[in-house]
């Protein structure tokens, strides 16, 4: 039923599907879009084999609403798209946020704006992943750097979505989606899978948006189980009842859905440090750019420069502590990104002036050359 434990040669898009199925994903809805189409194609073949439902919807507005509907039917659910489709999904993303619906959205980034660079990679959607839908909320966004990450982060994404009853976005890019490399599938019993917390109280005592003591979210029943739940897009109280102009209840709801993510950043944040022990200059990178950055850091080390790499796996919520700690250690932080300089703004903010922050933007649909990053590393220590 699942891909067998062991090492397999897999494409990123293939790995993310297999990871999602192992995580328990049993509903996928999507709309064809380059360079994310392979995910839908593979899901269409694999999903019915594991007893799940695949649906090709009429557009991305429908795709995201479908996975929210499926989630309330009790199924772990996912969609995959690229920039133009992700833009359309922003309204549904807001609905998932306010109704606290666990879903996983994969955005295989391509160059924008608009239809843009259809077949070429980009990291242009990183801010959209944080701020794309209107209103105040928090999201979780993960950035894979390899086919292995696509497999592992698919599982992590479902676990986080269930833990926080929140959408989780996997910000891949065209390179990672199409790269074909070895993926290690651990024995199934070693894979941690978070199942949905179901109400333990009878329906008349259940309150759908009131977390149990010590918890950030309420347990979640499925439709048809007798809990008579209200899945309400209008600002609502803990019962799901519309609250009109009750600003006190509105503030309570907004702050809870915001803080359940932001205050758990140290639990959600994942990162990788390379050569950082004695580093005097740090490269902070994510996604496919982190691979180029690692090459540049190694080259710098060969030339006697104490450079290190921080690969951010969790982009949102932004882990200020990690950057502050790094800024206190190094003279300069270099942030290469396949955009005009986006996450660098967060790095600059979080470093609180303790290190020089340098942006290495790259647009047009091509990866940085390691020498471009190396040149900035050299200039930083000169």
């Amino acid at each position: 039923m699942y891909v067998e434990p062991g090492t397999h040669l897999m494409q990123g898009d293939e790995a993310i599907v297999e990871g999602a199925l192992i995580a328990g994903c049993r509903f996928f809805a999507g709309y064809p879009i380059t360079p994310a189409t392979e995910i839908a194609e593979r899901m269409s073949r694999r999903m019915p084999q594991v007893g799940g439902v695949f649906m090709q919807m009429e557009d991305e507005l429908a795709s995201i609403m479908a996975i929210i509907g499926a989630s309330w039917a009790g199924r772990k659910s996912m969609t995959a798209t690229s920039g133009p489709g992700y833009s359309l999904m922003q309204e549904g993303l807001g609905y998932a946020i306010i109704t606290e619906t666990p879903i996983v959205i994969v955005d295989v980034q391509r160059g924008g704006p608009s239809t843009g660079l259809v077949t070429l990679p980009s990291q242009g959607d990183v801010m959209q992943a944080r701020w794309g839908s209107h209103g105040d909320y928090a999201t979780i966004a993960l950035a894979p750097s390899s086919a292995q990450d696509m497999f592992d982060l698919a599982i992590k994404a479902f676990n986080l979505a269930e833990t926080y009853r929140n959408p989780v976005i996997i910000l891949a890019d065209e390179v990672i989606a199409h790269v074909r490399e070895p993926v290690k599938v651990p024995p199934y019993e070693e894979i941690e899978i978070v199942e949905r917390r179901r109400p333990s109280v009878p329906p008349e005592e259940y309150i759908p948006y009131l977390p149990d003591p010590g918890e950030w979210v309420a347990p979640m029943p499925a439709f048809g189980e007798g809990y008579n739940v209200l899945v309400e897009s209008v600002m609502h109280d803990e019962f799901g009842h519309r609250i009109g102009t009750d600003h006190v209840a509105a503030e309570r709801t907004i702050k809870r859905i915001y803080y359940k993510i932001e205050k758990n950043v140290d639990k959600i944040a994942m990162y990788e440090k390379r050569y950082m022990e004695d580093a005097e200059v740090a490269v902070v990178a994510y996604g496919s750019t982190a691979r180029t950055a690692l090459r540049a850091v190694r080259e710098a080390r060969n030339q006697g420069i104490k450079a290190g790499l921080i690969r951010m796996i969790t982009l949102w919520p932004f882990y200020d502590h990690l950057i502050e700690e790094t800024a206190n250690q190094v003279k300069a932080i270099i942030v290469p990104e396949m955009n005009m300089g986006k996450i660098v703004r967060e790095v600059d903010r979080a470093s609180k002036g303790q290190a020089k922050v340098m942006s290495v933007p790259k647009v047009g649909g091509v990866l940085h050359h390691p020498d471009e990053i190396l040149a900035v590393i050299k200039s930083a220590v000169r």
Binding site: I68, S77, L230
Partner: protein, 283 residues
């Protein structure tokens, strides 16, 4: 606030979230009648059917309709109710999924989802409450506003022809279709019963009175009773309408059961067959 006793109606006590009532509809609004049609249909269908019924709605006055029922209900986004409902039905074919939408919700912003739900012939009951304009935002032109009508966005008269929902959905592939008005209570209730039992995409359009906007702007009848009288006088049964010219039918509401097909397989049945075919195939 109305006195407590007002909610002690047998249907309200049995089926509704009386704790959040009175509801938010304007005095004289026809949506209360549509709520009652739905509840009467289930009173006759029986508890077993009610127990496996869930509701989905969009945004607009009509979107509030099922939120007062003591069942699982999703108040989704403007136009997107059917996308949510499609996945719900595909995931849980055993449930009766009833979607309540308005005319702008279903035919305007949600038009694409509407035709595709019909094309798939997925077993959803869509109750489309038509009041001929957008009311929640204060009376603007909708896809069912009559030509020439003055609304807050058609101050010189509406120049756009309107959709005929029945013809639209017939072409798109729906398999049960009916249109009534709030005046036709019994007929509409019976159509809802049939639709719930029907295997396939069923849509019932119910033209209802919005005395606040449509009554004042379009029909020049701000009294809801006058509006229902107008529905009575201007409705023509489908059978009678067949023998009338387009000129004679202009401005009339053609009511009746438009379609009841059983020759198209329902979507979730196809889905089950697909699952059987997929099993045992290699990764």
């Amino acid at each position: 606030m109305l006195p407590e006793a007002e909610f002690e109606h047998v249907l309200a006590k049995k089926y509704m979230r009386t704790e959040i009532m009175p509801h938010a509809f304007c005095p004289g609004c026809g949506l209360g009648i549509i709520e009652r049609m739905i509840l009467m249909a289930f009173e006759e269908l029986g508890q077993e059917e009610w127990d496996r019924t869930v509701f989905v709605s969009g945004i607009g006055c009509s979107g509030w309709t099922p939120l007062y029922f003591r069942r699982d209900a999703a108040h989704t986004l403007h136009g997107r109710a059917l996308a949510f409902a499609t996945a719900l039905k595909a995931s849980r074919p055993d449930l009766n999924v009833i979607v309540v939408m308005g005319d702008g919700d279903s035919m305007g912003i949600g038009g694409n989802h509407l035709i595709h739900a019909a094309r798939r012939n997925i077993g959803i009951t869509a109750i489309i409450a038509t009041n001929m304009l957008y009311s929640l935002t204060g009376g603007q032109m909708s896809p069912t506003t009559p030509e020439g009508a003055k609304t807050n966005t058609t101050p010189y008269g509406n120049i756009e022809p309107n959709f005929d929902l029945m013809e639209l959905l017939k072409a798109a592939g729906a398999t049960y279709l009916a249109r009534w008005t709030t005046y036709h209570f019994i007929q509409a209730k019976n159509s809802i019963k049939k639709a719930v039992k029907h295997k396939g995409f069923a849509a019932i359009e119910i033209v209802f009175q919005c005395p606040t906007y449509a009554g004042r702007y379009i029909l020049n009848r701000p009294d809801p009773r006058d509006m229902m009288q107008w529905f009575k006088e201007n409705s023509i049964p489908l059978g009678v309408a067949k023998n009338k010219s387009p000129e004679e039918l202009r401005g009339k509401i053609i009511v009746g059961e438009y379609l009841h097909r059983t020759d198209r397989k329902e979507y979730t049945e196809r889905l089950r067959e697909l699952e059987e075919r997929a099993k045992g195939k290699g990764r």
